[in-house]
Symmetry: C2
Subunit: 357 residues, 2 copies
């Protein structure tokens, strides 16, 4: 039975890093006889240039027919000044929302080989392994009404709506509890229930779910405190679950704690576990086309895809072991380079992973 994978390279360094992940996928496909089939599509600025919009309905329809999606990154200065309604980011929001990819899993994991790359002291971050579970299709990102209007006194006002229904909270809460079961059995739910009603309901629903997962310990933390604790003592966390906006902020901060955001994959899943996989980092237009971007987050995203959406555990294990090996060999792209290691480019890093496979 063939599995169809949509490839969305996107913009900036997207095509370069996806090319390396694709080589790795081709290798395991052949070696492990996975019967993967690939469909290429445009998203973000690349799609704007070709079709005048950041993601066509045809691309969405085609994505629905696929078993999983591998995405590079979207956006860049070239499209910064065009009409907001068709900006590259809209393509990303459209695919998340159209395919109901509500569960965004963002691990913040410190590779022992890279502990020096962190801006935090080694004792604060060594062994760090947090999973951020971010709600991805609701909250203030999608809430209506929204816009810019003119008030009676003649001045303008920008407004957005932050909202969560019980069922939206419940399904992401269940994802968090289930993930925690496979890990250290702790969920910390992050809200601002001392100020925002939307998060009062959030906290209530999390508390209601907790008795169904008696083996998991639930705690609550205000978002400002969570941001502090991530800096002060991140190892206190196992799974953090939160809404779309807070998750955007905290997952980036958590990823940066590791000092190697170029290493971190992410998954965005729907309720059947079908999903889109992409690196945590962005399109890095400043280094695009130079062949120096780190392809490992994308390669690891591909392995996460094989594991979670396609069930090819062995191939996923093999890829992850290969990545571990190239790190042990001391190979580093510029973003994770420290004196004493060997600096390599995007393609050389891909070569090394292929050789280690």
């Amino acid at each position: 039975m063939t599995k169809k994978i949509m490839i969305l390279p996107g913009d900036g360094i997207g095509p370069e890093i996806v090319a390396q992940a694709r080589r790795v996928l081709d290798a395991v496909n052949e070696h492990d006889k996975l019967q993967l089939e690939f469909v290429d599509e445009l998203i973000g600025g690349a799609s704007i240039d070709a079709h005048g919009e950041p993601l066509t309905d045809a691309a969405v329809a085609s994505a629905r027919e696929c078993d999983a999606i591998l995405l590079g990154a979207v956006g860049g200065p070239k499209w910064d000044t065009i009409d907001r309604a068709i900006r590259p980011e809209r393509g990303l929001l459209k695919i998340r929302s159209s395919l109901e990819l509500y569960a965004n899993l963002r691990p913040a994991l410190l590779y022992p080989q890279l502990v020096e790359a962190s801006s935090l002291k080694p004792e604060v971050v060594s062994g760090l392994d947090i999973l951020i579970v971010r709600e991805l299709t609701g909250g203030i990102y999608f809430g209506e009404p929204r816009g810019i209007r003119t008030l009676e006194n003649g001045e303008r006002e920008g407004y957005n709506t932050y909202k969560y229904s019980e069922s939206e909270i419940e399904r992401i809460g269940r994802t968090a509890f289930e993930m925690a079961r496979k890990r250290n059995k702790k969920v910390c739910s992050v809200d601002k229930a001392n100020v925002l009603e939307a998060t009062i309901l959030w906290r209530e629903v999390m508390d209601r779910l907790a008795p169904e997962y008696p083996d998991v310990e639930l705690s609550h933390m205000y978002v400002d405190n969570a941001a502090m604790q991530l800096v002060r003592a991140p190892k206190q966390f196992d799974v953090l679950v939160t809404g779309n906006m807070f998750g955007d902020i905290l997952s980036d901060a958590a990823a940066m704690l590791t000092g190697s955001i170029g290493m971190l994959p992410s998954a965005s899943l729907d309720k059947q576990g079908r999903g889109m996989y992409e690196p945590c980092h962005g399109s890095a237009p400043d280094i695009a086309g130079q062949g120096i971007a780190n392809p490992l987050a994308t390669i690891l995203s591909a392995s996460m895809m094989l594991r979670y959406s396609l069930g090819f555990t062995q191939s996923a294990d093999a890829i992850e072991a290969a990545v571990g090996k190239v790190l042990d060999q001391g190979l580093r792209t510029a973003d994770i380079y420290t004196p004493g290691s060997t600096k390599v480019g995007t393609r050389e890093m891909g070569d090394a992973v292929l050789a280690a496979l």
Copy 2:
């Protein structure tokens, strides 16, 4: 001419730390003949216990007659289960909003004596000196409509409204530009203009103000990136300006970078520069009553008050010099203690500052 200062000790460690700041104020009042007069009032849990609400209208009316306010901190587990409408935090929100204290200034400053207390590597944070300018009376904290409602399908939904008008953005933007003028002449405005309309207008207004401050360099950053950059390379920032919610999160993260949130004062000013001064940290109920809390953030808040709202620069300088001296002497409360220094309690720290004055 006498100056009236309202003292709001609040809850938890509030009364202990405010007591030390008060001793310091009494000392400079007498020595420098400042003619300060003090009015004591209740806020937060203390006010709930006495009056059934976290801040009475009478207290607000009395605050209006004062030249400045010194606050400890509010909240604690004792009041965690009471009706949300009268929770301790509401007292804080009420005084900010009633007195239109829209400009919240939160410095994140690393004391050279305390570089070891940070969880970040010394080279990343030494010399750190950021000022976060947070809008404090608008945004999602106060936006209407808000609440929890039942949807047609029978489930409940929590909702809040995030909004900013041009005039609200403009006044906080001006504060940021003016502060930058007295510092390193860089303002970074933080928004999420790639997703939220409210912050599209925010960015537009900041850009419109920039030409009026040609000596200040304005840049923009998305909030997720700002959270990352604060962890990665915080010294790139001078003044950060942002809305109420993002400011809450980023200012706590920035304060924690210094490793000594017990050292950081803050000011919340109205358009005449009248203000409320308080430590950046909270009421720390876990250590309340033990006499071990760090009073320096509150003492420095008092000195900030003398400087910005009352114009007593010399007395403010004297207090700050005294704080520097006790740090040089190696005195540390538990929160900033590192081996080799001398651990002291709240009152001993107060004694030491008084002796150094």
